[in-house]
Symmetry: C2
Subunit: 184 residues, 2 copies
DNA sequence: CACTACATGTAAACTGTTACATGATTCA
DNA sequence: TGAATCATGTAACAGTTTACATGTAGTG
């Protein structure tokens, strides 16, 4: 269901081939929202074509097919977006790691936090550069989705960074006070 | 794999029954990091017992079994936490919806953003209350994980809220300027 | 011509969800 | 004793991933 909508959303911004869509997932969408590989995308596009949600609008070199959303597809996407938020399932391995921090020795936990903080800093800088580019030439089509993603990611990584600082401080407070922290 | 680690992490904080673990997933972990239902948890606990990662340390009323991590389980968890961050898969239906915003008519998009912002505000207030409680009595065991989650969630919802404000402004800027936005 | 990137697919294995199914204990 | 909650499980189904498989076009 969600994969269907993700594809519909990408194609609503701009028609594309399965290959291009797969690359798109590796960029913004796959990073923050929904991950998918080409082997899931191609069969899904065929199913969607059968259901009339998308259609092949052209064939290019190397047997590539360009897909575009149909009116029906657009209607289904909009209906889904406006529908009451069903208890969406969350799966995020990064966040999971971060939550299990207390299972490590404090020294290891600190190392892990520092690594996460560094990584977050890199991404924040990268996203700030992307933002500047967006400020100059106002994005259209799929780049507009990229802009939404960049602004979202920027704030999220800032939040993550702020959290690592808090968590590191908490760890050090604990280390000073109570002696044996984790191990049995 | 991730479910295994999530369970190991919860049990590392405090031994528990499958039922208690399932309830735990409905709270912090399932909200932000990893969702799982009881029908996935019970079979996984049995497999983990067979692999020697956990063990049954007691049986209580109503045929309940209490599981605890073994030394091996703790070692595997720590190894996984310290391992290089494999390109973790992300699946978040909420974020997906938010990314596909541009597929809606501007008026609908604004309504959606407002709904998300309101929801975020509620959760932020809730998490602030939880934080105050944590400030009074320093959490131990599984409550410590709850504290990590609360501080993380707080920052994340603040980021989401900030993003909705930005996105709403962007939508209104677009509405003023270029006329026809989405529909073909 | 070799290598890389483009481009699409399938089958088996794995993971997770939904719906079904059962029984124990507490409380009103 | 009826209802709610605690407590555990299974089987069929749906969705994803991994590995395999194939062929095209451009570039050095």
């Amino acid at each position: 269901m969600s994969l269907t909508m993700a594809l519909l959303g990408l194609l609503a911004a701009e028609p594309a081939s399965g290959y291009q869509l797969a690359r798109e997932f590796e960029r913004d969408l796959g990073r923050y929202a929904w991950h998918a590989g080409h082997s899931g995308i191609y069969p899904e596009l065929i199913r969607m074509t059968e259901r009339g949600l998308v259609e092949v609008t052209g064939e290019g070199a190397r047997n590539s097919r360009t897909y575009a959303v149909t009116a029906l597809g657009r209607a289904e996407l909009q209906a889904w977006l406006l529908a009451p938020p069903t208890g969406g399932k969350v799966r995020n391995e990064h966040v999971l790691r971060v939550f299990l921090l207390d299972a490590l020795e404090p020294a290891d936990g600190l190392r892990m936090l520092r690594r996460i903080a560094e990584d977050a800093t890199c991404r924040i800088e990268e996203l700030r550069r992307i933002r500047e580019r967006h400020d100059r030439d106002v994005p259209e089509g799929r780049d507009a989705l990229g802009q939404l993603a960049a602004e979202f990611g920027l704030r999220q990584f800032e939040a993550l960074h702020s959290w690592t600082l808090w968590a590191a401080e908490r760890l050090m407070r604990r280390q000073e006070q109570g002696g044996g922290p984790v191990s049995e």
